[in-house]
């Protein structure tokens, strides 16, 4: 990760081409006040609380957060595939003008794979071990476009070539276990792109891969996104990865949004105390760490204290318990979005957010 961490800083510092600041592309998907809960229903566990963000056409939204921050659940909610017993308890997910949260499973089934697609964390587990990859991918075209088998396989082969799979024709008849991890992830990417979706959800697609393959896959995703003009929601806990691939970033903590904004702005001027602590704790290869008289190296700063236990979800700002700047109101009032720069908002009472009393 050290290599990518160095790039983090480089990518954040490098001026981006002006495309990001030009007239904004239309909003493709807009998550509004999304709330996801787990039972018991009389006192639900609010794992995702009032999460809002927008993804524009052709843009990559990086969602960053630690384990349990609700980043995966909020992206599964877009597909309406929350693992039972979790359910969407409030909010809207507007995609191409329609509310996905209100759609039936049958309606969603027609959208999944066609307009919306997902790439999973572990390519080793996300392919059926008993079917050849060609058969698995052709199945999607059969479902969505009613293509005959030979035409479907031809399309799959084209996609394999597009995602850089060597010898795509003969790969069609291979089983997943005959491929390397990176190759399997390419197959998964091809599967996601098969019907030219408008939005691809990538849930830590590089976490299970080693660093060199990771870099290849990130380059590939970036390139494909630009080529096909699709949008992407990229979920990760890795600041290095998100610095490389995202246009805009949403930082989440324990089911709440901390801040949203352009990547450069967030890396250059983190506003929320959590983002600040997170970036400060990222090791940097371009920084020399002091060594004291006993030969001990200076320690990396950490995000203070322990992670919030699940029971304390609710109340005010969920980061309050670990926050160095917390004031008593923080545990009581939920910070609302406050615009601090154009296209950038932060949820923190100390940064000018309005606070509303929490539910818990």
């Amino acid at each position: 990760m050290a290599g990518l961490a160095a790039e983090t800083q480089a990518a954040a510092a490098a001026p981006r081409p002006p495309e990001a600041t030009a007239s904004p592309a239309p909003v493709l998907v807009s998550v509004e006040n999304l709330r996801i809960q787990f039972p018991p229903w009389n006192a639900p566990v609010r794992v995702v609380e009032d999460v809002s963000y927008q993804v524009r056409t052709g843009e990559t939204m990086g969602i960053v957060g630690e384990s349990g921050s609700g980043k995966t659940l909020s992206s599964l909610a877009i597909l309406n595939l929350l693992p039972p017993p979790a359910r969407i308890a409030g909010g809207r997910i507007l995609f191409e003008g329609e509310d996905l949260a209100a759609k039936s499973q049958a309606q969603m089934q027609k959208l999944r794979g066609r307009r919306l697609a997902m790439i999973f964390q572990n390519p080793g587990y996300s392919l059926n071990p008993l079917l050849t990859v060609g058969a698995q991918l052709a199945e999607i075209l059969k479902v969505h476009e009613k293509l005959p088998r030979s035409a479907a396989l031809q399309r799959v082969e084209e996609l394999f070539r597009l995602v850089g799979i060597t010898d795509p024709g003969s790969r069609l008849s291979q089983y997943p276990h005959e491929m390397s991890g990176g190759m399997k992830q390419r197959v998964c990417i091809a599967r996601a792109l098969l019907c030219h979706p408008a939005l691809v959800l990538a849930d830590e697609p590089t976490t299970a891969l080693d660093v060199t393959i990771q870099a290849q896959i990130l380059d590939l995703l970036e390139e494909l996104k630009q080529r096909l003009g699709m949008s992407m929601i990229f979920v990760t806990h890795d600041m290095g990865v998100v610095a490389r691939i995202a246009d805009r970033i949403t930082v989440m903590y324990a089911g709440q949004v901390c801040e949203t904004g352009d990547k450069q702005a967030i890396f250059a001027r983190p506003s929320h105390p959590y983002t600040q602590a997170l970036l400060a704790s990222t090791p940097r290869i371009d920084k020399s760490y002091a060594v004291d008289a006993q030969g001990r190296r200076e320690r990396l700063p950490t995000v203070g204290l322990a992670a919030t236990p699940g029971q304390s979800l609710g109340g005010g700002c969920r980061f309050a318990g670990r926050c160095p700047e917390a004031v008593p109101e923080c545990t009581r009032l939920v910070p609302q979005a406050a615009a601090i720069e154009p296209g950038r908002s932060v949820h923190c009472l100390k940064r000018g957010s309005a606070g509303v009393p929490g539910h818990g």
Partner: protein, 314 residues
């Protein structure tokens, strides 16, 4: 971005041509290494071969009692009657050979019925979950605790009385069919449990979720993604069940409740056990046939466990 950049990603060397190896082929390779499994397979193949070609090579017809006249009943093995004759004057070898198709019909027939019910019930319970699961599994528990033999013996005896003077009387092998059906109906519970467990495990696997994410229909998910991945475990339990079904039918036959029209090893034991001292060959031969068949299927199941679930052994 150009193709140049895409081409530069290519890092994996072209793999050498090799045959595609799916889970089945890998399973077979592990199975072939298991000695007990191979022994089981050989025994099962012997029984199957006997059932298929036996009736064409058997020295006497199944119902031919002519040896009663020539060497007489309970005659020791000779050239014309290699395994001797039994109490009723039948040729023992021929009767044992004709018992093989019956045994296989019982084993395969009963387990087909059991597998059909078990996979359906267990699959629905595991896939749907919730209340459906609760209800179906309690129903399964109910079948697990009914004493199979009591029910079968009662039904077979009552049926024999009930069909007299009805059109059913002329249905061939009615008794045997009912025994097969009942063994099947009382052996599906363990299969349902195993299916449910496998479906529960598989339905949350990432590849099933991935299939759902790309818009696969429920039918595709069940029959293309979940069921084939559950089959290895199910095959093991079904193979084990075949041996059990053969044994159950032998027991029913031995108690004298078998189909009088069919030749069954259990029934041969029933006819001949009283002459065990005088004509041991007439009892030992069908007994050995039962032993070989059941052992064969059990060893086969053992080998299949090695093949599809190698971790369970070590």
């Amino acid at each position: 971005m150009t193709d140049q950049t895409i081409a530069s990603h290519v890092s994996a060397p072209k793999p050498a041509a090799k045959p595609a190896r799916g889970i089945w082929r890998q399973g077979w390779q592990r199975f072939a290494r298991s000695r007990t499994g191979m022994l089981g397979l050989v025994l099962v193949l012997i029984v199957v071969a006997t059932a298929v070609i036996g009736p064409f090579v058997a020295p006497f017809d199944a119902q031919d009692q002519s040896p009663m006249l020539d060497p007489g009943a309970k005659a020791p093995p000779s050239w014309t009657n290699p395994l001797g004759t039994d109490r009723m004057g039948y040729d023992v070898l021929s009767r044992v050979i004709y018992g093989a198709p019956t045994a296989l019909a019982v084993g395969l027939g009963a387990m087909s019925i059991a597998a059909a019910i078990g996979i359906l019930v267990g699959g629905v319970a595991g896939y749907r979950g919730g209340t459906t699961d609760e209800v179906l599994m309690r129903f399964t528990d109910f079948f697990l605790v009914i004493p199979m033999f009591v029910v079968i013996l009662a039904v077979v005896r009552l049926l024999g009385v009930a069909v007299v003077d009805t059109p059913f009387e002329s249905v061939p092998y009615l008794n045997l069919g009912v025994i097969i059906l009942l063994i099947g109906v009382f052996s599906w519970a363990p299969i349902a449990r195993m299916t449910r467990a496998e479906f529960l495990r598989l339905k949350n696997q990432e590849f099933v979720e991935a299939a759902r994410c790309i818009g696969a229909t429920s039918g595709d998910i069940l029959f293309r993604h979940i069921l084939p991945n559950a089959l290895p475990s199910l095959i093991v339990i079904i193979a084990l069940g075949i041996g059990g079904a053969v044994l159950a039918e032998a027991m029913i036959g031995f108690l004298g409740f078998g189909d009088p029209a069919a030749v069954s090893w259990g029934q041969l034991l029933y006819f001949n056990y009283q002459a065990l001292k005088v004509a041991p060959w007439a009892s030992l031969s069908p007994g050995l046939a039962i032993f070989v068949t059941v052992l064969g299927f059990n060893l086969l199941a053992d080998g299949l466990t090695d093949a599809f679930n190698p971790r369970a052994k070590n």
